[in-house]
């Protein structure tokens, strides 16, 4: 076993052991704080080995893997499990473990008021999540990736439903699971098609044109579900029912990015399917714009960020659709940092004012300087202000998309860049500047070190990650060189324009009415059209089919069986009078029998 493989195994198994220990050692878990200690310790170990692995990849580009047969049939190995060490898995591992560690430390303070048993459950689920995500990230084949994919889906379900007493949280958890599970059928069918064509679950097979298109389209269905692309984005805003640190880790930085990661990982397959890539480019750009418009009209700070996540994932999908693996992956990385930062800062603010509504905040910048600066830095990075990480990665995306499909996606993404800056500006000006809107906001104070510490840590990559583009590209075996052309100039000017406009609209005191354009979007958003289509389908198709079949089963299929029994009993009842018990009846039967035999004896002998 080589050293990099060892690092990968440590990164994978430490959280698994932590999760197992916390699940099995009930008293430990129920005590609360030991669970947090175990989970955070395991994440730190995982983070350490991830960094060691990444360092190793800087000067060693040869992928390494260690696999063991998992399912076999006769002498054929059907599926393997193990770890694969290469630039992609190493980079993603660092992102995942770093954000996970920050979020877990943040949670120590954020979840402080939970009862000990719930606190313990929370950290157990976090350890389980990290194990699942790492399983996905360092998978040596798509089957193991699928296993991790489903496992993160389940931890997501359990964490969204963490406050399971709240009916809305319970509904949101189940909805998230159903929507993503529906999409996951695409990945499963894709695996079946791939296996039928190649006999394994690797991503480097040469496929025929048709098979490549089929497999990648099926995979892309799963991506649409997991990475919350239109029209399967509906679960992500609802998923904000979960605790805010969970939203930061799962529903912004890592789990939702798994879809994008899948495409990055299986890039050799997607490269063989230009048709799929066109679909991705179109849908990604459409989602980016659509979700940005919806983000514009949210007043809940977490929902704004959730739609913003959809929108940014749209950027990544569009970049991958345009064939830029690096663009998609780099934006995934920077987005993971700044969006996790934004969510945690939002969490800190929510913790202070006990409300998600930005209208319940106001003036927090003075009361909570660290939180406010974290949120502002994150917003600037998201808006693509030059110098911050988001600027570089967004530029790479735009560069890739430029000129494709008559520049329609390019224009959409440019417009999205403007809208992004505008809606983030709105949140910043309403929540952090101006006057406090109520007593709670007026008496808000900065969160403790457990919460402010991770914010400060995450601010670092949010600012500087952009300058490591070349290193990042080198580890992936690609090249990256930034040059300030017209694209970046236009995009960043649009971003700045958005911020300025937001200042003029929202930055100068409270407003009673929305601008006309925003009000229009608001009216459209309030129709919940996409959600209503699904609800209609579920109630009028799925449930109707189910009740129809259940009726058929109970009253027709089983009814026929009952009818048989009924028939037998009725036949017996009809036949019973023959045994009347009167001697004359039996004598009559004997006589008839004798006559019958005699007739048969006389006439039957003709034959």
């Amino acid at each position: 076993m080589t050293r990099p493989v060892m690092y990968a195994l440590v990164a994978l198994w430490t959280p698994a052991i932590a999760a197992l220990a916390l699940a099995a050692l009930v008293p430990l878990r129920k005590k609360g704080w030991p669970a947090a200690a175990v989970a955070i310790f395991s994440s730190l170990v995982s983070l350490g080995s991830a960094i060691a692995l990444f360092m190793d990849r800087l000067h060693d580009e040869v992928p390494q893997q260690l696999v063991a047969p998992w399912i076999h049939a006769g002498s054929t190995v059907v599926a393997e499990v193990g770890v694969r060490v290469d630039g992609i898995s190493a980079s993603m591992l660092v992102v995942v473990t770093l954000v996970a560690t920050c979020v877990q430390v943040f949670s120590v303070g954020y979840m402080h008021d939970e009862p000990p048993a719930a606190y313990g459950r929370y950290f157990t689920l976090h350890a389980l999540f990290l194990f699942s995500m790492n399983t996905l990230v360092i998978a040596p084949n798509i089957l193991q990736l699928f296993a991790g994919w489903e496992l993160v889906g389940v931890t997501s379900y359990l964490l969204i439903g963490f406050y399971f007493k709240k009916p809305s949280a319970a509904r949101a958890a189940v909805k998230a699971f159903w929507v993503t599970k529906f999409a996951d059928m695409g990945l499963l069918f894709g695996l079946l098609v791939l296996f039928a064509a190649t006999g394994n679950f690797g991503w480097d097979a040469k496929l025929s044109h048709g098979v490549a298109t089929a497999v990648t389209l099926l995979f892309f269905l799963a991506v649409v579900g997991k990475s919350a692309q239109f029209p399967l984005h509906v679960w992500l805003p609802d998923a904000m029912e979960g605790p805010t640190p969970v939203s930061a880790l799962l529903h912004a930085a890592t789990m939702v990015a798994a879809g994008v990661f899948l495409v990055v990982r299986t890039n050799p397959l997607f490269a063989q399917a230009p048709a799929t890539r066109m679909v991705m480019l179109g849908l990604g750009a459409a989602t980016a714009l659509f979700a940005a418009l919806l983000a514009l009209v949210q007043t809940d700070i977490k929902k704004t960020l959730a739609y913003s996540t959809c929108s940014q994932l749209g950027y990544m999908v569009a970049a991958l659709g345009a064939g830029s693996m690096l663009g998609g992956f780099f934006h995934l990385t920077t987005h993971a940092f700044f969006k996790a930062l934004l969510f945690l800062a939002a969490g800190s603010a929510i913790h202070a004012v006990h409300s998600n509504e930005i209208t319940d905040m106001g003036g927090l910048a003075k009361k909570m300087p660290i939180t406010a600066s974290a949120f502002i830095v994150g917003s600037l990075a998201l808006a693509g202000v030059p110098g911050l990480s988001g600027f570089f990665s967004k530029d790479l995306v735009l560069e890739a998309v430029e000129g494709q499909l008559s520049n329609v996606p390019y224009a959409a993404l440019m417009l999205t860049a403007f809208l992004t800056a505008f809606y983030m500006g709105k949140v910043v000006f309403v929540a952090f500047f101006g006057k406090p809107s109520n007593e709670k906001a007026a008496h808000a104070h900065e969160s403790g070190l457990s919460m402010s510490g991770p914010l400060m840590v995450l601010m670092v990559p949010t600012v500087v990650a952009g300058y490591f583009g070349a290193t990042f590209a080198h580890v992936q075996g690609e090249h990256y060189h930034f040059h300030f052309g017209t694209g970046p100039a236009v995009a960043s000017s649009l971003g700045l324009a958005g911020i300025v406009l937001a200042y003029f609209v929202y930055g100068r005191g409270p407003r009673t009415e929305q601008p006309a354009a925003v009000a229009l979007v608001d009216r459209i958003a309030k129709t919940r059209l996409v959600n209503r289509v699904y609800e209609y389908g579920f109630h009028n198709v799925t449930l109707v089919v189910a009740s129809g079949l259940a009726f058929v089963d109970r009253y027709v299929v089983d009814g026929l069986i009952n009818l048989l029994g009924y028939g037998a009993i009725e036949a017996g009842r009809k036949a019973r009078p023959i045994q009347s018990g009167f001697a004359p009846d039996y004598v009559l039967a004997v006589v008839l029998g004798v006559v019958g035999l005699a007739v048969w004896a006389v006439f039957g002998s003709w034959r």
């Binding site: 399912i71 006769g74 379900y157 399971f164 009916p167 189940v174 296996f195 009726f551 299929v557």
Partner: protein, 521 residues
Amino acid sequence: MNSHLLSIIVAAPAIAALIVMFISERDGANSRLAIRLVSLVGAAISFAGSLVAIRTYDKALGGLQRVEDYPLIPSFGVHVKLALDGWGGPLLVLTGVILFAGVLASWTVKTRDREFFALLLVLTAGVFGVFVSQDLLVFFLFYEIAVLPMYVLIGIWGSSHKVPARGPFKFVWNIFDIGGKQYAAMKLTLMLLVGSAAIMAAIFVLFLKAGGTTFDMGVLANTKYDRQTQIIVFPLVWLGFGTLAGVFPFHTWSPDGHASAPTAVSMLHAGVLMKLGAFGVMRVGMVILPEGARYWVPVVGAVAAINVLYGAFCAMNQTDLKYIIAYSSVSHMGVVMLGAATLTTTGWNGAVFQMVAHGIMTGLFFALVGLVYERAHTRAILKMGGFANVMPGVAAFFTLGCLSSLGLPGTAGFVSEFMVFLAAWKSQHYFWAIPGVLGAFITAIYVLRATRSIFWGPGPSHDFHDLSDAKKTEWGAIVILGSCLVILGFWPRLILDYIDPGSVEYLGKVLAPVSALARLP
């Protein structure tokens, strides 16, 4: 002693049953405890024996091992021939673990507990016997021993409920108390007996056509039956055993039967007995009648696909917790039959793995449902809600069961379902694989709806008084079964390594080229 291991496994529950019957009931609490301890020891001996049997099975060698042969009716060539094949080990362990957990789960049976435990043990002795019998007639005898006690167990210890009179056959309510426990017991027994009659007929045809000298399944499997016979006899075996495996449309005994049965009986019946059906179809039908099997598999597979999807949809519409689980069994047994119908090694591995996976999962489910029912006194999920607040452990294990049920990677359910779907797709039976995968999705809908409805949300309401988490022996059953699900999900080779040689060997017989008739219509 070691050479009699299989006899010990089969006999231990039967002997324990005998001892239980002689325990005086006069001592009150002491005799109650004695009954339970004797039963538990009997179960433990079989369980431990099955673990020894699987550990000592030489998987590289394969074939029949630990052969024991005692003549029973020598003039007809009937022998009690017991032997372990690749499939036997995992299925014995499954039976052992479910029996052990089932005894723990029935600790609180109140009425006539002596007879209850005795019957439960006798039934399980029959199950063990089926899995190791190599003589067709003895196989059948054990099968009947396993099936018949169910009538009494459901009829006496079961529970009743009302089913409204509706539909085109409303008039049958005049004479049947549909939903009642006697009705459920009667329907279950009669349907399975009709199946047994078909099997019996098939067995005699096989015996006579092979020369009428032996019932040895190995010999029968090497006998070349003519094509016409095979095509006529195979459906008898398929539907005969298939009735117990819940094959559509002969599955309707299952929802009523499982819903009415007491906890341990549901566990054993859905967990182990339904597998006897599928095992019989594969081991007797397909292996002994390869040409018949190859002729009929398109039908077998199509019906199995219907099972998966139809069972899942029916489960979705239920509001009675036990019916949900019972219909999900119908759906999941479809996966077993689907795997069997692919006639590929992967598919057969998946089918046998699914027998184990589903057995454990459904055993866990019924144990938990029993716990909930005992405390809540209702099975109507719409009346429940918020139970996770007061029984977090039960909620956690129920969720685990649900996840295995919907085929989550990392649980045993995924391994088998994936193998089966893969085999179906690889052999280009797309119309088997697609309903299969859809069925898994529908499963996700109904199990999570049920979980939300029972355990999540505010509550529990004031109608429920003495709700509490599992206690002492109850934990035993659910922790054992729950851990098995996860362990097998992560490392399926613990049993797959044994199943595989069995599948390879038996499938070799099914696929062996047969003279001029190799190409089938």
